[in-house]
């Protein structure tokens, strides 16, 4: 019976994966790299006699200040006074960065001019080498020297193109001085030698301050002053370096802004608006200053390419900044515009074959006008005509870019609806499968799912409705749905009643009812974007309530067991208002009874206290993210010793609590594992351990720790190690997992694991008044609360990427993604394993196991199917990229994790024999 549920659950997971790929299509990238020759040829054939690519600046310095938002530079009382003075003589713009406002996609956009899709954020956690066309590749092809200092993300992406480079790792967000000094210290040498063509400086300090203390902290003005000095120094040296007839250029920009809480990643005004200043050593003929009109951040790319005399990168979507090329005269300006237009039309043709035909006609007429203008003698060329051509080119560019970007936000609605139908069918079928699945319905469902999935992945679009197969399988899905509907009439009511009764048994009716109500409440709450952003509040609230309700149920059950007569105490017999309990009955058991109650109250108090501390450990969400939390204080440099002591104590606590269920060999192994965790943290400098050299990445101890985890897992299969009969395999697995869990957490979150271990051992010791399936929901809730308390949220920005690299020399896609998944979902995994360990002690029957599997699948699928349908109806909502899509991804990951974990239940179901 579990097999049927298993297959249905599998189809649901597949449907969701397909749904996701349709909801965020992977962007096709144009592979080709444009060369000066083809650019010349194409522009020459359209407009004969157009001027070729020409270099306008000799040396260029790009100062990229992480999280420099627009008002840091442009507000009237900015600390960056010198830069502001320079800006008033030159040109500065407010640029709008595209979401996601995270460093890596921004760097990519600044060098390629493409708009990253959401999927780039996911695919690029590993920041592998970027192979596509970009400014740096063009620089190195042209034989120019590029020098880079700053954030090592650049080096991962573009290391091939740098002549010299040094990266600073952003390992500790707490460090905002060293990271910048490591960049600035190269400046005197580089600027005096002056043998670069492009120098890129990426300063991280401001971003770190933002994450630490927010944009209003007193740390910000000194940092801005420091940046101001750097910009001033660079500008003055560039003035001195001037030679060879060409001026030099200094570009100052931010990669993304900073929200008022100090973070970034979203689409709010302050996160997306950054300054973009062009400071030329040659004084401008026209007055510049701050231009009020907003431009796109990627507009830098074609502009910079043209100024440096390089072909525009082939994936660019940016639009030449006319204010900047104005200096070069009308002829050059029009030639640059022509090249920008040709590049965009090429991209459009590549992206959507045939879509460029309507633009082409207009474009050719503009080209003719342009050639006519060129054929005139310089005296005859009127500026009005040049202006007209410029406007026409701009129109073509706007048309082309809007056609390309429109494609980025269109959805394949039929495919999405098919997926939602598939998901709902799976969910409803699962609900029915609990007792007597109609097997042929399940078979039809699985087969039509397989067919549709094949169809959807193969053709990428269902629009032509190619072939009868598609129609047949959609029809069969419909058939399944209608069969279900017919079935449901008869059985649904019984099913639900049965399920509720089963979770109600054993006096836990209060808890059982609340577990169901809470699951439904949470599902409904997902329909509001602020509840999604603050989902941690929901789980903290629900898990706290369930602890209290559980305590109440325990006491009430004890009482009814104690005094069976109580049930008959009803008001019908009583006229007197005050009634004392029958004394004789009470006194006999009073002692043990109140002891038990005291014990239960104590247990719950411990659970609640741990939950309270975990809750304020990491602030998360959106609205209250800026509030200080315990971790903010713990990771201050002054508190390193305290943090080390705290981590050591929690590791000891974990070990002591664990050792109760381990043999001595396993205890020694996990002690070694835990010590290696501490050692590894100490060698990165995060913790203090005497006699350990700092400043390596702690790879060796981390690997030793992995080995210990593996040995603990293996040891349970060795003979002579199963000394305690009460200890199941799951307990050993849980212990092994705890060691791995600690290893994957940041040092300060180690304490959370200790809290969880305490909670787990309390729950392990007390008797739950819940049915096994209700207990499953209870533990799933604990897992969800733990997920958020570790600092996660429903935004992509909170994923701790560092966890993926534990014990890794360098980037390998699979282990990093695997460890990252484990680290992010460490809390839910821990509590599910704790549940499996607890389940063993309950001696579940076959029926219970199936019930548990069913409950886990339903609780996961319920919120998922509702949310998927909701997101499809709201697909053009403002928050789709910032709230809905990240939540969908988290839901999908959650589904996969629980799907894989619950396979253990299926295995248990079939291997269980007695």
């Amino acid at each position: 019976m579990a097999a049927w549920s298993f297959w249905i659950f599998t189809t649901a997971v597949i449907w969701f994966a397909i749904f996701l790929t349709y909801f965020m299509p992977v962007k096709k990238e144009f592979i080709g790299i444009s060369t000066p020759e083809t650019v010349l040829e194409q522009s020459g054939s359209l407009v004969p006699g157009v001027s070729p690519l020409k270099r306008h600046y000799n040396k260029t310095v790009l100062v990229l200040i992480d999280a420099l938002r627009a008002d840091f530079l442009f507000s009237p009382d900015t600390p960056m006074s010198m830069t502001k003075k320079l800006v008033s003589q030159n040109l500065a713009l407010v640029a709008k960065a595209h979401t996601p406002t995270v460093t890596l996609p921004r760097i990519k956009a600044l060098m390629t001019g493409s708009v990253p899709g959401f999927v780039d954020v996911i695919l690029n956690f590993g920041s592998t080498k970027y192979e596509g066309d970009n400014i740096l590749a063009q620089m190195s092809r042209a034989g120019r020297r590029v020098v880079f200092f700053g954030d090592d993300t650049w080096i991962k992406l573009f290391s091939d193109h740098f002549t010299r480079y040094e990266g600073t790792t952003s390992f500790f967000v707490t460090d905002y001085t060293e990271v910048d000094n490591n960049v600035t210290r190269h400046l005197p040498l580089e600027l005096s030698a002056g043998d670069f063509d492009l120098l890129i400086l990426h300063y991280l300090g401001l971003d770190h301050i933002g994450h630490l203390a927010g944009p209003n902290s007193p740390l910000v003005p000194p940092k801005l002053r420091e940046m101001d000095e750097v910009i001033d120094t660079v500008y003055r040296s560039l003035t001195k370096l001037q030679g060879e007839g060409l001026p030099n250029l200094l570009i100052v920009c931010g990669d993304h802004g900073m929200s008022d809480q100090g973070s970034h990643g979203g689409a709010s005004y302050s996160e997306t608006r950054v300054p973009l200043a062009f400071l030329s050593t040659q004084h401008r003929s026209s007055t510049g200053g701050v231009v009020e009109s907003e431009v796109d951040q990627i507009d830098l790319v074609p502009t910079l390419s043209e100024l440096l005399g390089l072909p525009i990168p082939s994936n660019n979507l940016g639009h030449l900044l006319m204010d900047m090329v104005q200096e070069q005269g009308a002829e050059e300006q029009l030639a640059s515009l022509l090249r920008n237009t040709i590049q965009l039309l090429n991209l459009l043709r590549e992206d959507q074959p045939g879509a460029d035909s309507e633009v082409r006609g207009f474009f050719h007429s503009t080209c003719e006008l342009h050639s006519k203008w060129l054929s005139l003698t310089p005296q005859e060329r009127s500026s009005a005509m040049a202006h007209q051509i410029q406007i026409k080119y701009n129109e073509v560019i706007t048309m082309a870019t809007s056609t390309i970007t429109k494609k980025l936000t269109t959805y394949d609605l039929p495919a999405l609806i098919t997926c939602v139908i598939g998901l709902w069918t799976a969910a409803i079928l699962l609900l029915l499968s609990q007792q007597s699945p109609v097997r042929w319905v399940v078979m039809v469902h699985v087969i039509s799912t397989l067919y549709l999935v094949g169809h959807l992945t193969q053709f990428q679009s269902v629009w032509p409705f190619s072939g009868s197969g598609y129609l047949i399988s959609v029809a069969s899905l419909m058939l399944v749905l209608s069969t279900i509907a017919l079935q449901a009439k008869k059985t649904m009511k019984d099913q639900v009643l049965e399920w509720m009764r089963s979770s109600f048994y054993g006096g836990g009716s209060l808890c059982g009812g609340f577990l169901i109500a809470g699951t439904l409440l949470h599902t409904v709450s997902l329909l509001s974007s602020s509840y999604v952003e603050e989902e941690h509040q929901t789980w903290y609230f629900l898990s706290t309530t369930i602890h209290i309700l559980h305590l109440m149920s325990v006491i009430l059950t004890m009482n009814t067991n104690q005094h069976p007569c109580n049930a008959s105490f009803n008001s019908s017999t009583s006229n007197h208002f005050l009634r004392s309990c029958p004394k004789s009955d009470v006194e006999s058991d009073q002692g043990s009874h109140s002891d038990k109650i005291r014990q239960e109250v104590l247990n719950t108090a411990v659970l609640l206290l741990a939950a309270r501390l975990m809750r304020s450990w990491n602030q998360t969400g959106n609205k209250w993210l800026h509030l200080p939390d315990i971790v903010d204080w713990l990771i201050l440099a002054d508190n390193r010793i305290l943090l080390s002591v705290l981590v050591a104590v929690s590791l000891l606590l974990i070990l002591v609590l664990q050792s109760r269920r381990l043999t001595w060999v396993q205890t020694i192994l996990s002690a070694t594992g835990l010590f290696c965790v501490f050692w590894s943290r100490a060698s990165t400098g995060a913790l203090f351990l005497p006699f350990v050299p700092q400043m390596d990445r702690g790879i060796l101890p981390a690997r030793l720790s992995f080995l210990c985890v593996f040995l603990v897992l293996v040891s349970q299969f060795l003979p002579g190690q199963t000394s305690r009969p009460s200890v199941g395999h799951m307990d050993i697995c849980l212990s092994a997992w705890t060691v791995l869990h600690v290893l994957l957490m940041r040092p300060h979150n180690t304490v959370l694991v200790a809290f969880m271990t305490v909670q787990q051992s309390v729950l392990c010791g007390c008797k739950l008044v819940l049915s096994p399936s209700a207990a499953a929901v209870f533990y799933v809730w604990m897992g969800r609360a733990a997920f958020f308390s570790q600092g996660n949220s429903n935004s992509i920005a909170t994923v701790d990427v560092g966890a993926g690299y534990v014990g890794q020399e360098d980037y390998n896609a699979f282990p990093v993604a695997f460890l990252l998944g484990l680290a992010t979902y460490a809390g839910p995994i821990y509590w599910f394993m704790a549940f499996l360990a607890k389940l063993n002690t309950l001696n579940p029957s076959h029926r219970d196991l199936h019930q548990v599997y069913f409950t886990v699948a339903v609780t996961c699928l319920l919120s998922m199917v509702v949310y998927a349908a909701f997101v499809v109806t709201e697909r053009y909502h403002l928050f789709v990229w910032t709230v809905f899509l990240p939540k969908l991804l988290y839901l999908g990951m959650d589904l996969v994790i629980y799907y894989l974990l619950s396979v253990i239940l299926v295995l248990k179901y079939y291997l269980w024999c007695e």
Partner: protein, 113 residues
């Protein structure tokens, strides 16, 4: 916001616990009996049971609007919870009055027949 929480706690205690304390005293088993199913006698005890449960439920439900992004002043902790608590207490009193009325009438009929 320790003082806010303290005041909220005081309000919650005075609606949910204080009446019970007056009637039931410190006897734990009395408390357990009153708050278990069908355990309360008709009269003050049932009023205490219903009003206490509904004021706690009211406070619980009152927390719902806090995370919404409406940016209103009253979304501050614990304003909504206090309002919810008071509303819950009030409905609890009304419900228990009706409960008393209905049950008392039922009982009287029983006695007459």
């Amino acid at each position: 916001n320790i003082s806010q929480t303290f005041h909220f706690g005081a309000l919650l205690a005075s609606t949910a616990v204080f009446p019970g304390l007056c009637i039931l005293g410190l006897n734990v088993s009395n408390w357990i009996r009153v708050f278990s199913q069908n355990g309360a006698d008709l009269g003050p005890e049932s009023v205490i049971q219903i009003s206490a449960v509904s004021s706690i439920v009211g406070a619980w439900v009152g927390a719902f609007p806090i995370p919404l992004d409406w940016d209103r002043d009253w979304q501050e902790w614990p304003i909504t919870c206090m309002v919810g608590n008071l509303l819950g207490y009030m409905t609890g009193l009304v419900i228990s009055a009706i409960h008393l009325c209905v049950r008392y009438n039922q009982l009287r009929k029983h006695k007459v027949t």
